[in-house]
């Protein structure tokens, strides 16, 4: 029978984390990399809420997730602004072609 429990949520969280890390390390598109970072943050959020609900009760995990959502938005805003300045200089957001500093 199908019973959705802590293990399922942790599996989803781990999967999101792995996908995010893969995205950050292999994508060439700056916005794609940014999305990878967001995936990792949300993987942590899934874990927080799942642990809070199944293991410990209370709203601690949810409060944490709420703050993470807001901070992630602020971070994404600054990140996209930086991508825009990068684009203005290089006319591309392919990170392998926007490379002028040595090593």
């Amino acid at each position: 029978m199908l019973h959705v429990g802590l293990a399922h949520f942790l599996a989803v969280g781990a999967l999101l984390f792995a996908l995010g890390a893969y995205c950050v390390t292999t994508r060439k598109n700056a916005v794609g990399i940014l999305m990878g970072v967001e995936l990792i943050l949300n993987a942590a959020n899934v874990n927080f809420v799942a642990f809070g609900h199944y293991s410990w009760g209370g709203i601690h995990g949810q409060v944490f997730a709420l703050f993470v959502i807001v901070l992630a938005a602020a971070e994404a805003a600054v990140g996209l602004a930086i991508v825009l300045t990068l684009y203005r200089h290089y006319k591309t957001i392919d990170v392998t072609r926007a490379e002028r500093l040595e090593g």
């Binding site: 942790l10 969280g13 984390f17 995010g20 950050v24 700056a30 990399i33 940014l34 970072v37 990792i40 943050l41 993987a43 942590a44 959020n45 874990n47 927080f48 642990f51 809070g52 293991s55 410990w56 601690h60 995990g61 409060v63 944490f64 703050f67 993470v68 901070l71 602020a74 971070e75 600054v78 990140g79 602004a81 930086i82 991508v83 300045t85 990068l86 203005r88 200089h89 290089y90 990170v95 926007a98 490379e99 002028r100 500093l101 040595e102 090593g103």
Partner: protein, 491 residues
């Protein structure tokens, strides 16, 4: 959650910094005339007030704020005062560097003050949630600062690199925090220590250490540092090298000692930190050796200094050393942070003073220092003093800092690590002294354009060099202040 007025008053330094930032933002839209010199003055005033607030709060015992989210203890106050000192140098550097390039804006100071508020909150965080919020409040304005002064393509590329690795490291830290929460059900550092846990807790610990290792630029998490330090405009580089590093080290130490201080856990993380320290000292110094670009050299040097600071963190593990040895290690860390802040901020000031305006293919080449002793003897003497302090040669504060850290390591039973540290600093002698040799022994290259003198930059140079010498000759005051600041960290 009981919130008392006393709790809010305890955050006075951070409140001052934030209000200053908001005020500066408003001056930029309402009072933006041609002359913006008052903005630097305003920023410096708020920073000095925050510094004074930190000093005024010393003496009281450790206090828990906001029902356990933050603390006010000697460790936080000392680290906070150090950060404010670094910010003050950054503000003066910014005034001297940006005004001639007509790039002085309220946003620069506002972002720096906001980031510093985040740093000061970070060093007093007692809960993983508070740590994460403060970490982001420190990092997000810093990402924007790196992109400041977009004259070439370097800042935007450096900002992007820094943003990516910074966001990635924050995410790693957060995932680790989630695992720690899952293992213990707590997010407060003392609660985690009381609960303990199994394999899940260890996985969380590893991710938390990895995330913070990016921020302190420890090898092998350092690859962003040279590019970002080189690409950012010089006052911003000084701010990153000084403030971000000091705050990240303080929070790393607090998390490791308070939440993971149990002997069984310390037995796990101490070898990890020892390995990081060893790698960071060796590779930081070796990579700095080959750099002719002084800005990159200072970047690698700041990586190497992270290694020495990690030695102090390793010595602070409670599992192997008694409480007195731990206190010694923590105080040596604080002293080293203060010494490093003064010296590094001053060294980047020297770099800023030599930078030319306009496009320049080799702005930070070693040749820029040639003949400086003839052209500007005082600047050369101050730079030489700062280089000696970075190398750890008496009679400078850098020497005392290294002495205290290595002594703490020996007392904690980490003799091989201390020996490795001494050997690594001998390697460091070469590239620091090379700058001094070039300044005093080589004539200025023909046709070189002398850079215009700027009094704020000269002020930074002379003030930091004087303090470096003063604290080197009479270190007792600073060392005692550091020693009395270790009654902290939940026992």
């Amino acid at each position: 959650m009981p919130v008392s007025l006393a709790d809010i008053l305890a955050l006075l330094p951070e409140i001052l910094l934030s209000l200053g930032a908001l005020l500066l933002m408003m001056t930029e839209v309402f009072l933006a005339g041609a002359r913006r010199g008052y903005q630097a003055l305003l920023a410096a005033l708020f920073t000095a007030a925050a510094f004074a607030a930190f000093l005024a709060q010393r003496g009281g015992g450790p206090r828990v704020l906001f029902g356990g989210f933050a603390v006010s203890d000697g460790f936080a106050l000392f680290a906070g005062a150090t950060i404010c000192a670094g910010l003050l140098v950054t503000v003066v550097l910014g005034a001297g560097f940006l005004a001639p390039r007509s790039a002085e804006r309220g946003e620069f100071y506002a972002l720096a003050l906001l980031a510093a508020a985040g740093m000061c909150l970070l060093v007093r965080a007692e809960d993983l949630l508070f740590v994460f919020i403060a970490l982001e409040l420190m990092s997000v304005p810093t990402y924007a600062l790196v992109a400041y002064l977009r004259t070439g393509d370097r800042p935007s590329e450096a900002a992007f690199k820094y943003f990516l690795l910074g966001a990635f490291s924050s995410a790693l830290f957060l995932y680790g925090a989630a695992l720690v929460f899952g293992a213990t059900g707590r997010t407060s550092l003392s609660g985690i220590a009381a609960a303990g846990g199994g394999k899940l807790l260890l996985a969380g610990l590893a991710l938390v250490i990895a995330g913070l290792s990016f921020k302190i630029a420890a090898v092998p998490f350092h690859m962003w540092a040279p590019d970002v330090y080189e690409g950012a405009s010089t006052p911003v580089t000084a701010f990153m090298a000084v403030g971000v590093k000091a705050a990240s080290f303080a929070v790393l130490t607090r998390i490791l000692v308070t939440a993971f201080g149990a002997p069984a856990l310390a037995a796990v993380w101490q070898p990890l930190v020892v390995a990081l320290a060893l790698l960071t000292m060796v590779f930081g110094n070796l990579l700095a050796l080959t750099q002719r670009n002084v800005k990159r050299m200072l970047a690698y040097s700041s990586v190497a200094h992270a290694g020495y600071l990690l030695v102090a963190v390793a010595a602070a593990s409670r599992g192997f050393s008694g409480p007195s040895a731990r206190g010694e290690a923590v105080s040596s860390l604080l002293f080293y942070l203060a010494a490093y802040t003064l010296t590094t901020a001053g060294a980047f000031g020297a770099l800023a003073a030599l930078e030319r305006m306009g496009p320049d293919p080799q702005p930070w080449d070693l040749d820029r220092f040639a003949g400086l002793a003839k052209r500007r003897p005082w600047a050369a003497a101050a730079t030489a003093m700062l280089m000696l302090s970075l190398a750890g040669i008496p009679p400078t504060v850098g020497f005392i800092g290294k002495l205290l850290v290595f002594k703490a390591a020996v007392d904690a039973g980490l003799v091989p690590l201390a020996i490795a540290g001494v050997l690594a600093s001998v390697v460091g002698l070469y590239y620091y002294l090379r700058v001094v040799v070039v300044m005093y022994m080589q004539p200025a290259p023909l046709g070189s354009v002398p850079t215009p003198a700027s009094w704020p930059l000269d002020l930074v140079l002379v003030a930091t060099a004087t303090l470096v010498l003063l604290f080197g000759l009479a270190p007792a005051g600073l060392a005692n202040a550091a020693l009395s600041s270790t009654g902290l960290l939940g026992g």
